[in-house]
Amino acid sequence: MNPENLRYTKDHEWARTEADGTITIGITHHAQDALGDIVYAEPPKVGATLSQGGRFGVVESVKSVSDLFAPCSGTVVAINPDLQPGPKQRAELINQDPYGAGWICRVQPSNTAELDELLSAAQYEALLASEAH
């Protein structure tokens, strides 16, 4: 369910290190399931500076607005073209394929040591288990 090769945050984002050293970011299966039907996403703009733990955008379901928190610090180098704000935005991709086609943005990290602070898949799963009641 939660891919082994990703790192996770306690706010239910995931981070994947690419071959070129950039970090792709999205929200987890648990997050999209908890939100329900996602109707709108506001990704950051290319060139924006993120700081780890800072709010960098929103994802909205019918009922709610959810802040996105940066897994790592850096500069946004790309956003998912399918999530470009506008009439062609396909926010439902985040529900359908949160680790693949539903990726949100890609960041050039400014401090790769931050990634070591993130959770492994096993640690994230333990977090989910402890939150469930």
Partner: protein, 363 residues
């Protein structure tokens, strides 16, 4: 504080309900199908809502009709026994205590359904102000289910020998539904045809089970879709669109204010407001773009000054657009453009004539 449960709680859990706290009650916001699917099921076929959290107040007296009429804006004298009314109940200054559905059983018997969030407040208000009649809080006695959608009347008819065909919109009858003595009311909060069924709380489960036995594909619907359905019809939600500080005239509810009837609480304030003209009014708007406007967002003028507030807003599953309600100056009318401040950006919208969705016009 433990949440209160309705008689349908276990059945809702078994059906995959995702529970939230609504006015102190544990109720599903959605089921497995999800909000959008539940909403569409009601518009296209039929859905089932647990509305047992609503309050019920029974009023009896030699002229209960006149007694209640002095507390509400609409006119019980203008309807017959067996008919119901949607109305506001106002304070002396015209502010709204609650919006209600009032059932005229007879001159000596009136039954009131009120919002869950206002149960204690309404009962206290009515008890304090009513003259010539006695009010009893029956909230604990009744369970309530709403069956709504184009296929709803046929489904409910299968469970009762009482002929429902003569029961027109906002009329009601009493009869056995799945053998359970009930009040069967052709009312609802979705804009669709259908019934709200009041039954003794301890027998509610029998009605629920019979509905699913008659229609195994019946969609249970949560509070999330209840809200998107009523918003599409521009039906007010107390606490969002109307409250103690809004008058029915400002809220577009002038049609339930009968100033020609004898005195009622708030009448003189509403007459004065009508004579002076309204400064603000509740309008419905459609956003141009994909970002939803939501409760609490600020409405701004072309030059960026705050001119109003969004009271309800979100995506419309039927329209595929973002819709909302807001109080704005009366200079803004149907066709006017307005802007909603969404996280610092003034997003454009257009005021439209309600309702947002025409029943029978499904997407």
């Amino acid at each position: 504080m433990t949440l209160r449960r309705t008689p349908f709680n276990e059945r809702e859990a078994a059906a995959g309900g995702r529970f939230v706290d609504f006015g102190g009650f544990e109720l599903p916001v959605q089921y497995k199908a999800g909000l959008v699917a539940e909403h569409k099921a009601v518009r296209s076929r039929v859905g089932l809502f647990d509305v047992s959290h609503m309050g019920e107040i029974d009023v009896r007296g030699p002229d209960a009709v006149a007694s209640v009429n002095r507390l509400i804006t609409n006119d019980l004298e203008a309807i017959a026994d067996g008919q119901a009314l949607y109305t506001c109940m106002c304070r002396p200054d015209g502010g709204i205590v609650d919006d209600l559905v009032v059932y005229r059983f007879g001159r000596d018997h009136v039954f009131i359904c009120c919002n869950a969030s206002n149960r204690a407040k309404d009962f206290a208000w009515i008890s304090e102000h009513i003259e010539g009649a006695k009010a009893v809080d029956e909230g604990e006695q009744w369970a309530q289910l709403a069956v709504q959608g184009p296929a709803a009347p046929a489904l409910v008819q299968r469970l009762t020998a009482t002929d429902l065909a003569p029961i027109k919109r906002y009329w009601f009858t009493t009869g056995a539904v799945a053998g359970v003595p009930s009040i069967i009311s052709r009312t609802g909060y979705t804009g669709e045809d259908g019934f709200e069924i009041y039954m003794p709380a301890e027998r509610g489960g029998e009605v629920w089970d019979a509905l699913f036995a008659a229609d195994p594909a019946l969609q249970p619907v949560g509070l999330g879709a209840r809200d998107t359905l009523r918003l599409e019809m521009k039906m007010a939600l107390y606490g969002n669109d109307i409250d103690d500080h809004t008058t029915p005239l400002e809220a577009g509810l002038g049609w339930v204010v009968k100033l020609k009837k004898p005195d009622f609480i708030g009448k003189s304030a509403l007459e004065a407001q009508k004579a002076a003209g309204l400064a603000r009014h509740l309008v419905g708007f459609v956003m141009d773009g994909r970002a939803p406007a939501r409760h609490g967002y600020t409405v701004v003028s072309e030059t960026g000054e705050p001119i109003g507030q969004v009271t309800s807003g979100g995506p419309s599953p039927t329209l595929g657009r973002n819709i909302g309600l807001a109080y704005v100056p009366t200079s803004y009318t149907i066709g006017s453009k307005l802007h909603v401040d969404i996280r610092g950006t003034a997003e454009p919208a257009t005021i439209v004539k309600p309702p947002f969705v025409t029943i029978g016009d499904k997407s």
